[in-house]
């Protein structure tokens, strides 16, 4: 299985769009790749787009929380964008509300959130 989730660099930010039904190893691989990319590019923010995911279980939920925490320790903010409503309902019922993970409805709003938090006067 040599699948990989592409990480796209956009200026100071990185964009990850998860378009496949991830098996566990692929989720862990993404964690490694993304933290390496943050360091390599000195990224200040990460957008994780999950609009194509039709389910998030506790494993993927944990991966998302972990990525967010790791990015923060590396000096980058992360925003999770595009979660489908059915996925949000299910996640909360499952018992995961992703504390500490910034979220936005769309990539545009997520980007705006990153830019706001990057503003020099803050």
């Amino acid at each position: 299985m040599s699948q990989k989730i592409p990480i796209i660099r956009m200026g100071r930010y990185l964009l990850v769009s998860i378009q496949v039904d991830m098996h566990d190893q692929l989720a862990l691989q993404l964690q490694d790749d993304l933290t390496a990319s943050i360091q390599k590019h000195g990224a200040q923010g990460v957008l994780i787009d999950i609009s194509a995911l039709d389910m998030v279980d506790s494993f993927i939920g944990r991966m998302i929380s972990d990525i967010s925490g790791m990015a923060r320790i590396l000096g980058a903010r992360s925003v999770l964008v595009g979660m489908q409503p059915a996925v949000a309902i299910t996640l909360v019922e499952l018992g995961l509300s992703l504390p500490g993970v910034a979220t936005a409805l769309t990539v545009e709003r997520g980007m705006a959130l990153l830019e706001r938090s990057d503003a020099p006067h803050e």
Binding site: M55, D57, S58, F59, L91
Partner: protein, 132 residues
């Protein structure tokens, strides 16, 4: 209805394939998008349990009816060590492995019917149903 399908749970990729089988059958059963997502997510948790803690197993999926109600019934079987303390395993946040401990208790909340038969040395069999 006797269209039970057996899916192996031997590798991580089998969890992905099991999710796809459940999604397709949930659509066949006429479940709403939210209910489809709930049972697919529950299936993912239970399939992973069977693989990681049970050393692999099978998922049997079947469309069921109860009067006019239609639903999807899933059974996850493994021949692993079984769960010695079921009350403890059903608690939120309890895990013996690397998970978040939301697997069993979370899966139970996502479905209408939940049944588990387990014990030391007896393997584990979890049956869940989501009704339309």
């Amino acid at each position: 209805m006797s269209d039970a399908t057996e899916s192996p749970l031997r590798t991580e990729n089998d969890i992905v394939l099991a999710r796809q089988v459940v999604r397709r059958k949930a659509q066949e059963a006429g479940l709403s998008l939210v209910d489809q997502t709930k049972i697919v997510t529950a299936a993912s948790e239970l399939a992973r349990n069977a693989l990681i803690y049970g050393g692999g197993g099978v998922m049997i999926s079947e469309l069921v009816t109860n009067g006019l109600r239609r639903g999807l019934k899933l059974q996850f079987r493994d021949e692993g060590p079984g769960i010695p303390d079921l009350d403890l395993a059903m608690k939120d946040g309890w895990t013996s492995g690397t998970g978040l401990g939301m697997g069993l208790s979370g899966a139970k909340r996502l479905v209408n019917d939940f049944d588990i038969v387990t014990g030391p040395g007896r393997g584990t069999c979890v049956t869940i149903t989501r009704w339309k």
